[in-house]
């Protein structure tokens, strides 16, 4: 789902850089209200965990594997704004040091995976889990799994749209596409087929099993965001 450099035209990647910069500013302001400077390790470790979680290969079917993004998992444990920042940092390290995902397309990748993927997953989770304190374990797990499935598919759909609009937006004088040449009728089925049938379910299973483990071993981490976790620390 990482869009490399060269697939998006300047108008598209420029717009996404602008949108992502605005979102980071907003995230910074939101987090400043709940976090102190000494809470920086929380986000730094969250970013590191996000990076490492993306290394996990999840068994799918027939011996194939796909890698998890952990977007909804992070949103449930850290809160959506913190998860957005953490995933953005993980994506930056991947792009800068290992060439995984582009630099010009970094804004679009952050918007798709770190913002839309996280917030869509989080919104679905909150909608289905209802009041977290009174929800049963099964309901929480169902909500987390559905959120993960929805989140990764929203991110994939946005990726498909951004790639698919390139032949409309960026054409040469004789009508030749200058960037990604495939239209929406190809990018949407090509990207969504795998995510709706395989990767979405793998992400959901990964999130459900991780949340189940956390509920079993550290239940105080669920039903809270950073503010919730801090309240938990004070009680200890």
């Amino acid at each position: 789902m990482h869009i490399p450099d060269g697939y998006l035209g300047p108008e598209t990647y420029g717009s996404f850089w602008a949108a992502t910069l605005a979102l980071w500013y907003l995230a910074g302001r939101k987090l400043k209200k709940t976090l102190k400077a000494t809470d920086a390790p929380l986000l730094a470790l969250g970013a590191a965990a996000s990076f490492v979680v993306m290394m996990f290969n999840v068994p799918i079917v027939g011996g194939t594997t796909g890698h998890a993004t952990g977007a909804t998992l992070l949103a449930v444990v850290l809160g959506p704004w913190a998860a957005f920042i953490c995933m953005s940092i993980a994506l930056a390290v991947q792009a800068l040091l290992f060439g995984d995902g582009g630099i010009t397309t970094y804004g679009a990748n952050c918007f798709n995976m770190a913002f839309a993927g996280v917030f869509a997953g989080w919104a679905a989770y909150r909608l289905l889990a209802g009041s977290c304190a009174s929800a049963s374990k099964k309901r929480l797990l169902f909500a987390a799994g559905s959120g993960a499935y929805f989140g990764i598919n929203v991110a994939a759909f946005l990726t498909a749209i951004e790639l698919g609009i390139q032949p409309i937006l960026e054409r040469g004088a004789d009508g030749k596409p200058l960037y990604n040449p495939f239209p929406l009728k190809i990018t949407i089925p090509a990207i969504m087929a795998g995510h709706l049938t395989l990767f979405g379910f793998a992400e959901a299973a990964f999130t459900v099993l991780s949340i189940a483990y956390i509920i079993k071993s550290h239940p105080e981490l669920i039903c809270g965001t950073i503010a919730g976790n801090r309240a938990g620390e004070k009680q200890q």
Partner: protein
Amino acid sequence: MAEKNKNQKNLDSRFPVWLLEKQGQPQTGVPERKKFRSGLMLDRTLKAALSFVEDAFFNEKTAARNGFLQRVEPRAKMVIIFSLLVSLSLQHSLPGMLRFVVLGFFLAVLSRIPLNIYLKRLLPGVLLTTAVALPASLGALVPGEPIFTIITFKKDLWLLGHSIYISRQGLFSALALMARVTGSITIVLLAGFTTRPPELIKAVNFFIPGFLRTVFSMSYRYMFFLVKRLEEFILARRARGGAYTGQAGLDRKWVGSRAASLLIISLELKKELKFAMEARGAGDEVREAGLPAFRFGLYEALFLALAAGTVII
């Protein structure tokens, strides 16, 4: 032969019978094929973790070489590289894009980056893009003026029309995508190969405001800590050969629990780090050691001139 039998007898008398019995693979009741698939999941995860450490180590090694880009100030280098990427994205002609590929290789040679390693990092992205881009040359996907007809049908077929042909516009699009992606990767890789990772992080940090700057620089250090833990999880599981279940459900459960463990470890560690920072008097602002004062000397000017020359020619 007689000598060999004598040695074997001596050996047999010194060791208990159970130790001399031939041992097979641990018996788990799981078919070999399934064990292989399960092992594949662990292998791929372990490979990802090891390649992270290996790549970071190799970047440190090449960044320490006495090459051209290694002498360029990291912040100046990042700004010029980003400008090159933007300029490449604005190119509309194939020769214009290929100039950036040539520049990338030229700088790699000047910076004493081993070309085999450089190509090894470059190839996966290029091959993937080639596989993605080539179908675009077909008229069915990017319609246009036919330059070569592969096959003609007697009647129109769904999606394909009456023939499969390569269109001029499609071929240009496919080649342009390949050239643009190859040029971008050759240039981006230079940053990683010629700058020590902590310096690269600090250079990027220069452009990040306030609180997030501290978070970004800290996160890279913790990545190594967590990758090390991930390696330990996998090696511990591999050491218990019988732990290969071969059942995707149980393997997924293992993956889920280990990912959750890493998150829990992170949150536990965060408490200790927070106390340590507070004990050292960290207040509302955490000061991070940055790069030395910015300089723009001969090497920075040369790099800028090379980059500008490539864009302008």
